[in-house]
Symmetry: C2
């Protein structure tokens, strides 16, 4: 193997030599492979690791972590690279562990509605595997992320309003801790009161406390009936008012997604649709035939009263798939609006009662900023994104985007909300963590120091320096 | 104030002197008060603290913890004393903080279906407060525990099969950490991906990482229709088979509780009912009028096919209340079966698919043990309790109960389950923690040492020495 001329982390050389015998061609130092593993889908700069190891088992992950711990070399877990906050950037070099080879479904129990999978399995592949069981894993962040990546960033997405986020759908984890120890954090019981909740400590820890290698997930029955519709509005306010009333009525809607007019236009262009280019809700109802009809009727009463259009139904599964694919591709559609731009994505989440006010102020702010920033969101949870189009090399544009983001986050936190509903802190929001959590941050730091005293696990992420 | 002649923890004297000015008559060293705060409802021995402080604010709790930290004196939070694993026993003396004065509802948002309450509020008082809002807090461990106590033991109860445990119903906490620092672990957003999940770390930590002083809770709409029924069976196996089929059918039943014949007999005697003294399910359905009728019909098809009786409906609210009060008093009913006995309670939880086998083996084992041990459980979650009647002074009986418990726990863990579904580890199950969590226990210990290096927070609980 030809080693790179320079290492970002000098100790990486020793680790590579230590591991090359075991991993052979599954350890790569090729520039292209390293580059690919140092970037996600965001605007954050590429930070290539010194080497990439393609792991195939928990024991292999443990061997890599032990070698890195011995030489104080950073470890950066890599799933599908679909993060939006620079989580996979190897800011201090070190070894990226590519988890994509750990993609087995180890066990499915239809009786218990649960399964255990390796962390490198993607959510779409899991659901293809489950199809014959009548069950599905509902958490759906849009991108075809790995389960381990979703767990590590506390992901959610369109279905969370009904089925919860990944946080509510994990029963237990297997993880390699920073000293190479392998731990199982939970069993298969639906509930347990035994010991500290290490499962939830690792969910959303962004790889800074260990590498998740296996996940035991709750599954849900595929509903007897599913129907999807769109509903357009003259103003975003009217759409938001409809969402708030729907949630407050306790209607168990499965999906209720807001797109502003700019976002709808972007989706039309990118996904070849012909939706009216107005603020719009994408809706989905799950239940029995009667239940779905009843829910749809109640929601349509609400939307009509708020000036919404008649529902445009996507009756057959293919239509429905096309609609949700367009929604899932909203990020790509947004960045395709202006060729050459990257997406600077915001991710606040506020109590639903504050949603109308926060969105209205934010849209005014976008207008004044002169930036293009379509809005899309899982508004049933109070979560929405601006996708601010930026050229990362244009410092003025970046400064404008960052200032807009700063104001948005302050607004959200003042409303009782959070700087990130589902994307995580990563590199991009570290300074917001202190603003949001204040005196709780030193507690987080104490935990990090206790479990990873050398600071080798995904350094430069989440916790402020 | 007359100080006790001897202190279990010598440093307590200094703390009492330090605090007596501030707390005056709200600091007690009276033997009766100390005794009362050193015991819960279980068989565990009374361990009185050296003093009891009646706190009225988070700042007061922080002052007590700071004083205790300075003098390395144990702090034991005390809610309603309804724990079943000796959580409130001051095994090393120190200061008990009685939270019952912190019982205010600080905020209710009907729009967001959430509220913030002080930790000393009991669940029944909360629900009385909420009545006019059309909302309720569903987690219901039977006893009228405080919200803080429920959070600390990761409590659940009869409604968890539909509404989740307390773990799924807490949005954020305010807590005093072992150094006296006050932290807020979460805001009011429905979801957040910002930082380590300290909320879930403190849920179920049994007071060993800090004192919870405020809780922000999710609330749920009081259902339009509620109906409750009982259904009796010839055998426990038939009842359990009905439960498993109900859960596997995805019917959103609100409560499905199993009582064996001995337990029904105890409830009849204690709560003056005349239920047939056979294995029995207590059922409750929540939803719209149609939804409830549909659910009940589907479940009754299942129970009839498994040899169950026709449903006996508790139509009006008073009947229903009487039924559930009897269920909630099952523990007291059990110990009243043999006057003078205490309850040695077990609490395993297993995947539902293993429930029939684990219960059948357990009942055989009880039969062979010669002990009286009625069985009752939240079987929809796979959770059940034996209430083994013991005289703690009878060493042979205690040895038999402990051996029975040991075999039950091993059986549950081998089935993928847990030694405690909802009561916690406390004093009683510390040796099981290692059996269940193995290599994860040192990770828990590292967290404990990082956050409470002096080991002052509720010592002698949860973690093995």
């Amino acid at each position: 193997m030809d080693l790179p001329r320079e290492f970002v982390c000098p100790g990486a050389k020793d680790v590579i030599e230590l591991l090359s015998g075991t991993f052979a061609e599954r350890l790569s130092v090729a520039a292209a492979v390293r580059e690919q593993h140092g970037r996600d889908e965001s605007w954050h700069a590429v930070c290539a690791p010194d080497a990439v190891v393609f792991a195939q088992s928990t024991d292999e992950v443990a061997a890599v972590v032990r070698a890195c711990a011995e030489h104080q070399v950073p470890v950066v877990p890599f799933g599908a690279g679909t993060s939006l906050e620079g989580h996979v950037a190897a800011v201090s070099g070190g070894i990226a562990i590519d988890m994509s080879g750990m993609n087995r479904v180890k066990r499915v129990s239809a009786e218990d509605m649960d399964c255990t999978v390796e962390a490198g399995l993607t959510r779409k592949t899991l659901n293809e595997n489950l199809r014959d069981t009548g069950l599905f894993m509902p958490v759906d962040p849009g991108a075809d992320a790995t389960i381990g990546g979703m767990v590590s960033t506390r992901a959610s997405g369109t279905n969370a309003v009904r089925y919860g986020t990944i946080r509510e759908n994990v029963l237990g984890l297997r993880a390699v801790m920073p000293d190479g120890r392998i731990v199982d954090t939970g069993g298969r019981a639906r509930k347990s009161a035994a010991g500290y909740d290490l499962t939830h400590l690792l969910i959303g820890a962004e790889g800074t406390l260990g590498v998740i290698t296996e996940v035991t997930l709750r599954l849900h029955g595929i509903p007897e009936a599913i129907s999807a519709a769109t509903c357009s509005f003259e103003t975003v306010d009217d759409a938001v008012a409809s969402v708030i009333e729907t949630i407050q009525s306790g209607i168990p809607i499965a999906r209720i997604e807001l797109l502003d007019d700019v976002m709808v236009k972007a989706c039309n262009a990118y996904s070849k649709l012909s939706l009216p280019e107005k603020p719009m809700l994408f809706l989905e109802f799950h239940g029995s035939q009667n239940g779905v009809a009843e829910q749809a009727e109640r929601v349509s009463e609400i939307t009509l009263a708020n000036g919404g259009s008649e529902f445009q139904w996507s009756a057959d599964p293919e239509d429905r798939t096309r609609l949700w694919e367009a929604r899932h591709n909203a990020y790509y559609a947004a960045i395709a609006l202006v060729p050459g731009k990257r997406g600077f994505t915001t991710d606040v989440c506020v109590p639903v009662s504050k949603l109308a006010e926060v969105i209205a102020q934010t849209r005014l702010d976008v207008g004044e900023s002169g930036l293009t920033a379509p809005l899309v969101g899982h508004v049933g949870d109070g979560n929405f994104h601006l996708i601010v189009l930026v050229d990362p090399a244009d410092s003025q544009e970046m400064a404008g985007a960052k200032a807009l983001h700063e104001r948005l986050v302050v607004r959200a936190i003042e409303a009782g909300g959070t700087c990130t509903g589902e994307h995580g802190i990563g590199m991009g929001k570290r300074h917001f963590l202190l603003k949001e959590h204040g005196d709780a941050v030193p507690v987080m730091t104490a935990i990090k120091q206790a479990l990873d005293p050398q600071g080798i696990m995904n350094p430069g992420k989440m916790l402020p320096d």
